[in-house]
């Protein structure tokens, strides 16, 4: 059907909200509380428009389209109302944009600019005296910057099924906080950073490791090495003005060298290694009657979620460390030995799409000799900040390749960056392990795409394997509920904490919608289509590592370095 908007006819679909139709027609109405794919709350009222026949302005995000309706999105009344809303939000906002991590990348700031706010019209009677909560290894919460849009609360509960935070108190004392207003570190927060991704201000941000890394790079006694995760090369360029989905893998490696890292390694290498171990573990569990379904273990938010919410499934978790931690362990053992370096002198940095990786790097069970295997984790966003600080545009350097012995990867390792990628890579290698032959069709279509839960049945040697892939922990939680209730047709489940996988991780460039995430995903699939080596068991560097050091998958050395065990965890929840 058609509706009239600003004297122009636009297409609308029956039942949809007005805002959806406006967006499709590229009519730009600002929003603060609206979340793609979640039910509108109509809380912020920033999206108000005039609808003929309605006495009051209506919130377009929560107002269904009607045949023949006439809408004015930018009438003086609508614009005036929006401006007043923003002015009220600013009434007790600390205007320290110049010193703020979201300067130039802040919805509140750009709204104030777009609406022409030039003076402080309102002043709150109660001063804003909140302190930032810096207790978490991953997330900083600063209620003084919060405008109470509620998006973080809803994402945490509805998308992640965690509900670590909620509105507490009322009236002028209302703020977002944890149960009993305690630190995020003792709450059920799983460090995913999805709340950061939806926050319009700097009220939620990552715990930054920029200073530590720059200090290490300046320290002549430190041998500073870096690894970068599969999903980083297809998102970093967005921070430098390129369209979503541009892959800058080689440029990223070259730019990291310019920062002074002595070695640049590719986490996709250890993703291939993870597949060797994990596929072997799956085969062993299948053959020896081990605990099934096996659950993937590379997403640290998911691990903490299982420990807290589903401890009965801890034995189902693969014992494989994540690719970050496998590489971290190898850098301070195999690599240190090979280069004759004292592991204590190595400073190991990981560039990750993820805030939970910061927490993971600090887990006591993942270090050795009282030292962490990974010393610092930077998100994609933090890395972009460092590049800007150093005047480097990583999209405009001549590509280079990553360093031996952890520089080679297959496209299977690269696929880890998207939901379903670990499953696809693992199935390719498990099939080879079980049959000695490659899968006929390497592309496992049912596990591709952005759906929250995907399932497939794969025949290997006449045996049918049931597999499922979930991203977004509310989806994963529902799937575990089915298994707990007796569902027995699944042998292997991949879970990524963030909806869509690491390409939509909590450390990625802000402001990406589902289309942008889809473009990032296509970039990974294109790499898989274009390159010749597409199975982890054909990664030559991984083979050499087994020959020279680890022996074979699940060997004693592998167990010491590449595997771990998790335990039930008590938190306030």
């Amino acid at each position: 059907m058609q509706i009239e908007v600003n004297n122009r006819m636009i297409e609308a679909r029956p039942g949809e909200m007005l805002l959806t139709a406006l967006r499709r027609a590229h009519v730009n109405v600002p929003t603060l509380c609206n979340l793609e794919h979640l039910t509108p709350t109509g809380a912020c009222r920033l999206c108000v428009v005039e609808v003929e026949g309605q006495r009051n302005l209506v919130p377009s995000c929560a107002f269904p389209v009607q045949e023949g309706m006439k809408v004015r999105t930018h009438s003086p009344r609508a614009v005036g109302a929006r401006k007043t809303i923003v002015e009220l939000l600013l009434a007790n906002h600390p205007d320290d944009c110049l010193y703020c991590v979201r300067n130039n990348n802040c919805t509140l700031q750009s709204l104030a600019a777009e609406l022409g706010v030039r003076e402080r019209r309102f002043r709150a009677e109660r001063s804003n005296t909140y302190h930032a909560d810096t207790s978490s290894a991953s997330i900083v919460r600063d209620p003084s910057k919060c405008i109470l849009c509620g998006k973080c609360v809803r994402v945490c509960e509805e998308v992640q099924g965690v509900a670590a935070i909620d509105f507490i108190h009322r009236g002028s004392r209302t703020h977002v906080g944890t149960a009993f207003d305690q630190g995020l570190n003792v709450s059920s927060c799983i460090n995913c950073g999805q709340c950061i991704m939806v926050c319009p201000t700097s009220a939620l941000r990552e715990q930054s490791a920029i200073k530590e890394v720059l200090d290490a790079l300046r320290n002549p006694d430190r041998f500073v090495v870096v690894q970068h995760a599969p999903a980083v090369s297809v998102t970093l360029a967005e921070e430098f003005g390129l369209r979503p989905g541009a892959d800058v893998d080689g440029c990223l490696t070259a730019a990291l060298r310019r920062l002074g890292f002595r070695r640049v390694f590719d986490t996709s290498f250890s993703a291939d290694l993870t597949i060797m171990e994990e596929a072997s573990e799956l085969v062993r569990r299948l053959r020896t009657g081990g605990r099934l379904p096996m659950l993937t273990s590379c997403s640290p938010g998911w691990i903490k979620y299982v420990e807290e919410f589903h401890p009965d499934f801890v034995p189902n978790l693969s014992t494989c460390k994540s690719p970050q931690q496998m590489l971290g362990a190898l850098i301070k053992s195999f690599f240190a030995q090979r280069e004759g370096l004292d592991p204590a002198k190595i400073y190991s940095v990981a560039i990750m799409p993820c805030t939970a990786k910061k927490f993971e790097a600090g887990r006591p069970e993942l270090g050795r000799d009282g030292r962490p295997d990974v010393d610092a984790v930077l998100t994609t966003r933090e890395l972009a900040r460092i590049f800007r600080l150093r005047g480097i545009d990583p999209t405009r350097v001549v590509p280079e390749s990553a360093d031996h012995p952890f520089g080679e990867r297959t496209t299977a390792g690269k696929l880890f960056g998207a939901t379903g990628g670990v499953m696809e890579a693992a199935l390719r290698t498990a099939h080879h392990l079980l049959t000695g032959r490659e899968l006929e069709e390497l592309k496992v279509k049912p596990v591709r795409g952005l759906e929250g839960v995907k399932e497939a049945r794969v025949r290997i040697n006449g045996v049918e394997l049931g597999v499922a892939v979930a991203s977004g922990l509310a989806n994963a939680g529902r799937l575990l509920g089915e298994v707990r209730a007796g569902r027995a047709d699944l042998q292997f489940i991949e879970v990524m904490t963030c909806p869509g996988g690491c390409i939509a991780g909590g450390g990625q460039p802000l402001g990406a919608d589902r289309d942008a995430v889809r473009a990032r995903m296509r970039a990974l699939y294109q790499i898989d289509r274009d390159e010749p080596v597409r199975v982890s068991h054909r990664n030559e560097a991984v083979r050499r590592l087994y020959d020279e050091f680890l022996d074979e998958p699940l060997s004693e050395a592998s167990h010491r370095l590449l595997h771990t065990h998790y335990h039930a965890r008590e938190v306030i929840r």
Partner: protein
């Protein structure tokens, strides 16, 4: 931190809370507020352990339980003091100057409404009309009414109760 070590409630208290919760068979989210009220009636306040127990029973994240509880003025999060002081802020009392009375008590006790003094001596609560408008402004100390109070008279009252409880004959 384990739920058991949170707050000051001991295991027996959780057992008692379970007994209160048993009065609400098949309780669901909608019953949260009546349950919070019942638990507060039993213990005089909502301890962290009890809120955790309520969350578990209703299958509700404790952040939600806490969020709802802090939304309403009626709930306390600290145990009552040996002397529990209520200040009426109903319309009649307001007209007769209960705001200055409340301010005087806050200063005398050095606590805000909803709080308990560190030594456990006093707790303060603001209540909506307690139906004694003829006596406005009115405060109660451990349930005893004191009528037509002034900032001066409540300061004396506080001193009196402090002395009495110290002598071991507080009510």
């Amino acid at each position: 931190m384990s739920p058991e070590s949170v707050g000051c409630a001991c295991a027996t208290e959780t057992l008692q809370a379970d007994a209160v919760l048993d009065r609400f068979p098949e309780a669901r989210r909608e019953h949260l507020i009546p349950i919070l009220q019942a638990v507060q009636d039993e213990f005089g306040y909502l301890s962290q352990a009890n809120m955790l127990a309520i969350g578990r029973r209703l299958n509700l994240p404790v952040s939600k339980v806490y969020g709802v509880a802090t939304f309403y003025n009626q709930f306390r999060f600290q145990p009552r003091g040996r002397v529990h002081c209520q200040v009426c802020r109903g319309t009649a009392c307001h007209v007769k100057g209960s705001a200055t009375v409340l301010e005087a008590i806050r200063q005398a006790l050095k606590i805000d409404p909803g709080q308990t003094s560190r030594d456990g001596q006093f707790s303060l609560e603001v209540v909506a009309c307690i139906g004694a408008c003829g006596l406005a402004p009115v405060v109660t100390m451990n349930g005893e009414f004191h009528a037509s109070v002034t900032p001066d008279s409540v300061r004396k009252l506080v001193q009196q109760y402090a002395k009495d409880t110290q002598n071991g004959n507080g009510k």
